[in-house]
């Protein structure tokens, strides 16, 4: 890739990550949420691969760690649901609701958003990575 692309994508990746996190955190206040934010994060990693090749991306986040993180995300979501048993029902919203229009409100919803964002972001990255690695290893054969 050319220098121009590399420099630009370096900036965009950082912006993408920050934007994704913003969307995840404000999921209960503004449009967006865990899923959309997660995809944005995944996209910024995908951009990293496209611009710098897979080694650069892998040095930031290895495949094994990524798939483990994805697992942990899914597990945490289930655990948040299970915590509801403490309050009496599966997926009961147990935390204090807080006042609307604030960042820390709405009980478990932002937590769920964060966990889903983690899961989706890393998970989609894993999908892309396996596809890329497959193609690379095919060429080497």
């Amino acid at each position: 890739m050319t220098l121009l692309v590399k420099t630009a994508s370096r900036l965009v990746v950082v912006l993408g990550l920050i934007f994704g996190i913003h969307i995840i955190l404000h999921g209960h206040l503004a449009p967006g949420g865990g899923f959309a934010g997660g995809v944005i994060i995944a996209l910024s990693f995908v951009l990293l691969i496209l611009a710098f090749g897979k080694d650069a991306a892998l040095s930031k986040l290895s495949l094994k760690l990524a798939s483990n993180l994805e697992n942990v995300g899914a597990l945490l979501f289930l655990i948040i649901g299970l915590l509801g048993f403490w309050g009496g029902a599966f997926f009961l919203n147990i935390l204090v609701k807080g006042s609307p229009f604030r960042l820390f409100s709405a009980g478990t919803i932002p937590l769920n958003n964060i966990v889903i964002g983690l899961k989706v972001g890393v998970g989609l990255f894993v999908i892309f990575l396996t596809l890329v690695i497959l193609e690379k290893s095919k060429k080497e054969e």
């Binding site: 483990n68 697992n71 899914a74 597990l75 299970l82 509801g84 009496g88 599966f90 997926f91 009961l92």
Partner: protein, 502 residues
């Protein structure tokens, strides 16, 4: 702890074990995976039996669990009634034995953690679909189960596996889209997604032309999942391509849960069955019964033969349920139970032969009885049972279905059922003759019987095949009749759910 709290556990346990196996399976020993999978399958079986018992002790025969504490029309509720508990017992029973079997069988494949993860995800999908009381939630769990099964069909990653899986995935997704369209139209019509609420609103708005259209959409969608005759093309490819333990699960319970259970739940309890729809079901059932068995007769690949025979047996079940008489539904559900055990056993036998002898071609094997007595005998039991020879369970269920046909005056359909039963007998006799009787092929002189775990589950399933007929006894009868009653109640289902939710 409230007693109803066990209801969500049917989803939580397999999901949790799927996550745990996938997360930790890479680092810990193989023993760990086996322990987790055994424990969680055993727990599921225990809970489903306990749930059956619990349901008997509650007065109204229905339990509703409100997820997140939201009352039924607003949140999602789980409904645990006679039919659901019946299906849960069937699914978890088969899954338990298949799991034990796969401990031995899966040695042939690489990457065991992924296999078990997908296995449990499929189980999650099926259990979730059975207990849900919400239409869209049903769709989601349908997708979980289907996606896991697409991946499992391709698990061997040979070119045939991949192709079968692609075909299955395309047809399966098409079916899902039809189901989704049906759900969307129903939502536009009733503006609710809860099945009980929807049933209530639909009974209020009678005489609409929308309902038959939606029923046809659902029949196309779920019929594809159940491999009813015009939509069956994926099954004979997909089932043989999967690992044998998965074929057993696919043929034994997946097509019944995803297809028959979901279809009958929606048609009977939500949108209400009409005589036209019932006639369509009976016709399709008979068609797949006859054509399936004819196609099965000409196969030489053992697993393809079994797969076509599955289509034919699904035809029996649909015929029974489609009659919509008490006896017909009773017979259909009874046959569903029997066929789950029988067909799983037959597929496990096929897997055992494949494992030991390395072939699935009937013409290549012969005289295996000498070397593999357990496989041969259990397979004999299953064959006789599926063909409907008197002392075995398959006989009683077929008898009930045929009687129900005659009772309703459908002599032609009863005749078709008898004829296909006879052809089934011929097919399985042919299979027995080729595979187990005759002179031992010299190639297989040093053949070994399969590992102990595989033997155990085959024998256990054979015992179920033999004893299945006992369910008709008065004391155990409730198992089936409770389930049949749920379907017969039709849209009174809505009222009961709302009462139970209070």
């Amino acid at each position: 702890m409230l007693r109803t709290n066990i209801i969500p556990l049917f989803v939580i346990i397999p999901l949790l074990s799927a996550f745990l196996i996938s997360l930790l399976g890479k680092y810990l020993k193989r023993q760990f995976i086996y322990t987790v999978s055994n424990i969680s399958c055993f727990l599921l079986l225990c809970f489903s039996l306990y749930g059956l018992n619990m349901l008997r002790n509650t007065g109204s025969n229905i339990l509703v669990y409100k997820i997140g504490g939201w009352a039924p029309p607003f949140g999602i509720c789980l409904v645990f009634d006679g039919l659901a508990s019946f299906m849960l017992v069937v699914v978890n029973l088969i899954a338990f034995f298949v799991n034990i079997y796969s401990l031995g069988y899966i040695e042939k494949y690489t990457d065991k953690p992924k296999y078990f993860t997908l296995f449990f995800l499929m189980l999650t999908g099926m259990n979730g679909l059975i207990i849900t009381g919400d239409l869209f939630n049903l769709y989601i769990f349908l997708e979980v189960a289907s996606l896991a099964s697409y991946a499992l069909v391709a698990f061997g990653t040979d070119s045939e596996d991949l192709e079968a899986s692609f075909k299955y995935a395309i047809m399966g997704s098409l079916a899902s889209l039809f189901i989704f369209l049906g759900i969307a139209i129903l939502y536009g019509f009733t503006s609710t997604l809860n099945m009980a609420d929807m049933a209530r609103i639909i009974t209020e708005k009678t005489g609409s032309r929308l309902i038959p259209f939606v029923s046809v959409l659902f029949i196309v969608g779920f019929g594809t999942k159940a491999a009813l005759m015009p939509f069956h093309a994926w099954l004979p490819d997909a089932h043989p391509a999967a690992p044998a333990s998965i074929s057993a699960l696919l043929s034994g319970v997946l097509i019944k849960t995803l297809g028959i259970y979901a279809l009958s739940r929606i048609l009977f309890n939500v949108i209400g069955i009409t005589s036209g729809i019932s006639a369509i079901l009976v016709f399709l059932g008979s068609l797949s019964m006859l054509v399936g068995v004819l196609l099965a007769f000409s196969q030489t690949d053992l697993k393809r033969l079994l797969a076509y025979s599955s289509i034919s047996q699904v035809g029996y079940i649909i015929l029974g349920i489609g009659l919509a008489t008490p006896l017909g539904i009773f017979g259909g559900l009874f046959h569903l139970f029997n066929h789950s055990a029988i067909k799983s056993l037959l597929f496990l036998n096929a897997g055992a032969i494949d494992y030991a002898a390395g072939t699935r071609d009937l013409r290549q094997m012969s005289g295996l009885k000498e070397k593999m007595p357990v496989t041969a005998n259990t397979s004999l039991v299953a064959s006789l049972s599926v063909a409907g020879i008197p002392p075995f369970a398959g006989f009683f269920s077929k008898l009930v279905i045929i009687l129900a046909c005659i009772q309703k005056g459908y002599f032609g359909y009863a005749f078709i059922a008898v004829v296909s039963s006879i052809i089934t007998l011929a097919t399985f006799m042919k299979m027995q003759k080729f595979a187990f009787l005759g002179k031992l092929n010299e190639k297989y002189n040093n053949l070994q019987e399969v590992p102990r775990a595989m033997k155990f589950s085959m024998v256990a399933l054979a015992v179920i095949c033999v004893c299945g007929g006992l369910i008709l006894l008065p004391g155990l009868n409730f198992f089936l009749s409770d389930a049949a009653n749920v379907l017969l109640e039709g849209s009174r289902y809505a009222m009961k759910v709302f009462e139970a939710a209070k």
